[in-house]
Symmetry: D2
Subunit: 274 residues, 4 copies
Amino acid sequence: MAWFGQPVLIEELLFKTKHGIVDQSLHARMGAEPTNGDGFGLGWYGAGSGPAVYRSVAPAWGDANLRELAGHVESPLFLAHVRAAIGSPVQQTNCHPFRRGDWLFVHNGYLAEFHLLRRELMLAIDPELFGDVQGSTDTEVVFNLALTFGLDDDPLHALELTVGLIEETARRHDVAGAVQASFGVTDGATLWAVRYATEGPARSLFASADVEAIRHLHPENPRFQRLSPDDRLIVSEPFSDLPGVWQEIPQRTAVTVRRGGDLNERPFSPRTPG
Amino acid sequence: MAWFGQPVLIEELLFKTKHGIVDQSLHARMGAEPTNGDGFGLGWYGAGSGPAVYRSVAPAWGDANLRELAGHVESPLFLAHVRAAIGSPVQQTNCHPFRRGDWLFVHNGYLAEFHLLRRELMLAIDPELFGDVQGSTDTEVVFNLALTFGLDDDPLHALELTVGLIEETARRHDVAGAVQASFGVTDGATLWAVRYATEGPARSLFASADVEAIRHLHPENPRFQRLSPDDRLIVSEPFSDLPGVWQEIPQRTAVTVRRGGDLNERPFSPRTPG
Amino acid sequence: MAWFGQPVLIEELLFKTKHGIVDQSLHARMGAEPTNGDGFGLGWYGAGSGPAVYRSVAPAWGDANLRELAGHVESPLFLAHVRAAIGSPVQQTNCHPFRRGDWLFVHNGYLAEFHLLRRELMLAIDPELFGDVQGSTDTEVVFNLALTFGLDDDPLHALELTVGLIEETARRHDVAGAVQASFGVTDGATLWAVRYATEGPARSLFASADVEAIRHLHPENPRFQRLSPDDRLIVSEPFSDLPGVWQEIPQRTAVTVRRGGDLNERPFSPRTPG
Amino acid sequence: MAWFGQPVLIEELLFKTKHGIVDQSLHARMGAEPTNGDGFGLGWYGAGSGPAVYRSVAPAWGDANLRELAGHVESPLFLAHVRAAIGSPVQQTNCHPFRRGDWLFVHNGYLAEFHLLRRELMLAIDPELFGDVQGSTDTEVVFNLALTFGLDDDPLHALELTVGLIEETARRHDVAGAVQASFGVTDGATLWAVRYATEGPARSLFASADVEAIRHLHPENPRFQRLSPDDRLIVSEPFSDLPGVWQEIPQRTAVTVRRGGDLNERPFSPRTPG
């Protein structure tokens, strides 16, 4: 999930919502895995230089430090992620978000048969970046490929090149359904999200519909009653079953959220680099 | 779950069974909680002096060290437990089994409103034992009360006195449904299990019916084809859906398993200590 | 160590100082133990309600999350503690600071033969507080005794009663040298520190001498050049070997630091309760 | 450290020795770092298929599970390692020993400027192996290069090619003093150890001199009085200050220990592959 708007205590969205992401770590309904207990991460912008990242291998639902942080850190822009490991080890360096400079990156999904493609994809990473790859997940490789392909200049184009390269590499290895993804990426000033699958339906992705809807969601919460049209939430699973509050992001679509809550959609079309 | 019989690699029962306990940590069907990801423990008898205990706060399904141990330690008698924390912190000292001397103790269930009763129950612990209580769970208190009431001499009687004391203390505090439990306890020579609830149905508890059934469960497993009538399994949830393999232990019942697989049932009747 | 003054990024004092507390976790010079690698904790006042606490069982020098927090959280008042376990388990609930309501408490030292005195001291804790004792350290018991004896009303008096009770209990058990301590305690508005030992010299404790000294300590640090006379540091070990920067707090002495940097000393005289 | 001889409880060598490896984790005297608190690992041969590996990010001196294992697992051949991280994250996948099939590998030392050489060295790993590299240490890369260069057929030759490749790669990047190492490697039937540095003195390495010496070391230990000439210990630091018990392995030397305690030395001479 991602929040971009006025500064809020992180717990407002992580813990004080109906079916929020921490609850989803224990009981997801729309993800491929009902339990996402293999670590989590939280990245936020606030005091200090660049984004902060808190990552833990404990399940999000039981991590005392996460509750502390969420209850005592305010941020206008943060990403949270809960993980269900698919083969790779449960370790902090495999937890999202990944960071470089001002950038944060999260990924809900997987690369098919990553084990087979890993070497080739890592070779395509800018050698200057290679030495800083610390974990063993597909997502860290995706992020470093996106950095290689110009994330700084044009994030969505860089992600289209990244996915294009992965799909081409997968084809050469006879791997079908290469990419299953919702991506979230931000540089602290703009937030991008992508919903995409090489084959079949992509993982779910939703944006908060409008501020009135959010106020409606938390009538008892004075903080949310103060919400302004500048505030936006992007989530893998809606926080609540209330109809009308969420707009589903279509398949193969990228959204751009700028400060002020403005949300823009466009098609996401992978292309082969070079 | 508990195994008592010929020495087996622990993984045979922890990982190589259909719906074994590690699988239950992620997808329990009969427990109160579908996910038991707040740590686990394994206690076994083998080399060295007294029982060994391996406890971890990681979910059992993702703990690399548990897989290693289970694959490389053989034991004729071991207990495994997966935990769903109810309020108390996720820390090794709150993971079962608890140990003292040759004794191991596990508990599937809870004491109602333990927070209210904790001080009074801890005061009833033998002062010699008090200093060694290291965690904050109800189960460690139950174990120390049982030690106080003569576990060494007559384990089932000691547990009846323990439950009696808890129920009496609960009554004085107007706490209903004081004890919900299946207990497992062993001194390395005999294994006892208790199914009991103060009110309503107790947590499920099953014993392996007979050796033929277990052979039937794993026709492909040469190790299990070598099973003898001496082997016994006690579990909270059956490993498999095959009918006929498991016998349910009745409510308010204690079973005693001696070396040789002999299983004896008798009523479990709490009584207030003198 | 404790900071009370203008809001600073926590890393300024935890990581960017010469021989700061994180460095002390690996190479302490004045403590009883050269290595303090059995967990650490950080408590701070800032956004949200009451103090936040981050505690970890990892050594402070290697904890990635501590670096993140320290680099991205600003606070006008925080306590940090590194732990060398003496017998009790390495677990978050044994890490300082301990918290209740607005209060934070840290302790550098130990109670002699705590194992022998534990039960009696725990019985002296207000029964209303007993249920919330989660760990197994002497410090958590000291803190709860202080709460029992009126920490809210008169913190130094409450600590004098607490130490008096411990010393009297120790005497009855023929335990010598009952208390070895520097305590730090705060309610978010005032900071108290105590240096005391029942016998022999107490653990070292220092206060920053004056703002000029701190500016001198970090001539290259523009933040510290902005220091005002309102800022105060209390530490177990001076951050630097520069003479003149620190004033040692005398034995059996309590200091009170109020907002504005005002530091007041008075004798610390344990007395037996009731 | 490595043990190869009659089966012993692992604790005899890990915990019950004077200045054993766990004590070294807190107070090393001969290593580059006095504290080795960034995780540890234990690999052993015994029950089950192939070697077992237990790795933890906790400091060895405080890990309750390590004490349990060491006290309850017997093995004729095991390796133990304590880690002082130099830049790479503290995570299980960075802890030694590394394993593949029947092989275990430990390394005390470092590759100079590994960050610069990492990509090129990883490209030299057999693509079949690349996908299984899970951590980010130099040692895991060294191990996979050795596997690539024929560890299965001729371990010392494979290590000479590995070191030759690393030194050549370092030269091209103007990196001096490429390799600082004592290596330990075993397939469960034979144990090899190497002491080598590209420049200057290599990390210390010692072999137990003879069985009489070990008996002398533990006069009070009946187990050691039963030691046979078949037993051998290889350590980075001698367990004791007694003169005459240990023979230092010379610089640029490889030793081969076969079942039966036979120890053979030969020069270790890196050579460039192909």
